[in-house]
Symmetry: C2
Subunit: 347 residues, 2 copies
């Protein structure tokens, strides 16, 4: 494709009849170059269409000004929002972000980490697809700063910015209880993930605090996906005694759940109340509108970059900082008592 190879700093120097050192000075705005000389050089750069080779530069300077962002699911709207927060802060500080998507595959994640390390990123923000994996070893060995976002990384002492999932689930469940519900189901995410486990724990805690016995039938599992929420809801619908309220552990699951409710003609707000983890676009389009636990996506991203940046600049090791951000319960309509007939078995 490329015929004549790209011009280098050498070519520019020759063209402007100066040394490469001088050219380098003007490229990097280091000053100390006579105005006239500079003009000649700038002109030569224009004329030749010279572009600084960042690869050579990085090689020399041992820094790339790139940070890697690794997310598990680019199609889950939660992540783009978080990414926007990171990007924004990074740009301000002169860092360029490389975003990669693992599609929840630990194998892909591992590959990506290796590539980023080889490419010499200055740091990485990651929402891992495998909290217990060994893929982080290389990052630690190379001393590359890492911030774990939204999902904990076990056995490594990285900084982390997490959401208080337990509290979020607790608030949601409590709200349902205060509305008079006793038969509250939970659609759980995978117990292999922190959010999966923690949201279940919050649910359990609320039940226990209000002395409502746990009914195993009301605890259903699924993957963090629309399909997961859909089939879980089906299962719930087939129970002899159906729950009067559902708490869904994740945005995608909520969508699946609401779809199932429609398909099964299990009437939201009339026969069953609902609260979901994460705000979703459809929440205000359903009737009744969905109450949700909302996470501060942007803040999550901004904080993550900030922590990362501090570590990149620091030249000594210091102990990990672990942040736990609180989600916010957004009460709309779907958790209201309405005219839901409760199952008054134990009242």
């Amino acid at each position: 494709m490329r015929t004549e190879s790209k011009p280098t700093i050498q070519d520019v120097a020759k063209h402007a009849s100066v040394s490469i050192a001088t050219v380098s000075r003007v490229i990097n705005n280091q000053g100390g170059v006579r105005a006239e000389t500079e003009k000649r050089i700038v002109h030569a750069i224009k004329e030749l269409g010279y572009v600084r080779n960042a690869v050579a530069r990085s090689m020399k300077k041992k820094e790339t000004k790139m940070i890697g962002i690794i997310i598990p699911d680019i199609n889950n709207p939660f992540f783009p929002l978080v990414v926007s927060g990171i990007e924004q802060q990074a740009r301000k500080k002169g860092y360029y972000t490389m975003l990669s998507n693992t599609s929840e595959s630990p194998i892909v994640e591992s590959e990506i980490i290796n590539i980023l390390v080889e490419r010499g990123v200055d740091g990485v923000v990651i929402t891992t697809a495998d909290e217990y994996g060994k893929q982080f070893q290389i990052l630690q060995e190379q001393g590359i700063p890492v911030v774990a976002l939204d999902r904990r990384i076990n056995e490594y002492n990285f900084d982390s910015v997490l959401i208080d999932n337990i509290d979020g689930a607790y608030q949601a469940t409590k709200q349902l209880i205060l509305q008079g519900h006793q038969d509250i189901a939970i659609i759980c995410g995978p117990h292999s993930t922190t959010p999966g486990r923690d949201r279940f724990a919050g649910y359990l805690k609320a039940l226990s605090d209000y002395e409502i016995p746990l009914n195993d039938q009301f605890v259903v599992q699924g993957s963090f996906s629309e399909e997961g929420g859909y089939s879980a809801t089906r299962t719930l619908n087939e129970l002899e005694v159906r729950p009067t309220a559902i708490f869904s552990s994740n945005n995608l699951m909520s969508i699946g759940c609401i779809k199932a409710l429609q398909d099964l003609e299990w009437r939201l707000g009339e026969e069953v109340a609902f609260i979901g983890f994460d705000d979703i676009e459809i929440a205000t389009f359903t009737k009744p509108k969905l109450s949700v636990v909302s996470r501060p996506m942007n803040a999550l991203g901004e904080l993550a970059f900030q922590l990362l940046h501090e570590r990149i600049l620091a030249n000594e090791v210091f102990s990990p900082r672990n942040y736990l951000l609180s989600p916010e319960l957004k009460i709309r309509e779907s958790c209201r008592l309405g005219n839901i007939r409760l199952n008054h078995k134990r009242s």
Copy 2:
């Protein structure tokens, strides 16, 4: 941070008592190394925690195996879906993708392009925020292959993978007409963008083919955003004679439009029919369900990478290929006649 600097190929060579050339051979699986020697080297690599420095490698080889993807709005679900298509193909061919988001800012886009060029990406797929900008100059000069995705790039002969927006809008409008509507409004996107103009053109064409005079009042403008759709809908609602059908030019606008309809108590499916460009999550949650023009996101991405890849491999210039993919009309409920009272002025 990093205390002892990272091990290099030199260190490995020393540790295994061989030359760096031999180490390089085993790192790159080039064969021609005695099994026993190789074992020693592999062992040294493990022991030292050596990682190949891709920066140095790229510098030497003049290829990075990285391609850049530039999108204008990571929070518009259309793009993550396209990106998934690109990523998937790229990974298969051994390319790593770097995703960047411009947030529709031509300035940011320009910066990103420069960074990618400096970093030596092997190619770029871009949905530009500025179809007429000069930011592509550098790509052309450097001979870096480019594929324009979803938005045309004028004045440069890059490959392109576009959607037949005219046809999509035509189909939608036609459908509305066939349902008996005459007073069909369009919520237009910015005329500075190809999709904005083309979708309007398709609307116009359908009207003309069916001999329905254009009513200027039914043509409202907005940015490709929720807010754009929302305020456009407000405007339509304030007309003395309101339209009986609305065609919305973009997914985000559709969301804004539907929200406005709700807020204004302008009843969808009863007082006004609707078709929107792009399928959206909420489409099946509204009552009635939304009819939409759906684009093949994944195919778009896959094709884009394929074209790019061909160009990266080719060692001669050839003329640009321009693909136009057809969108598909998904008829659900919102465009049905239902019990909408049409304004029978000219029937």
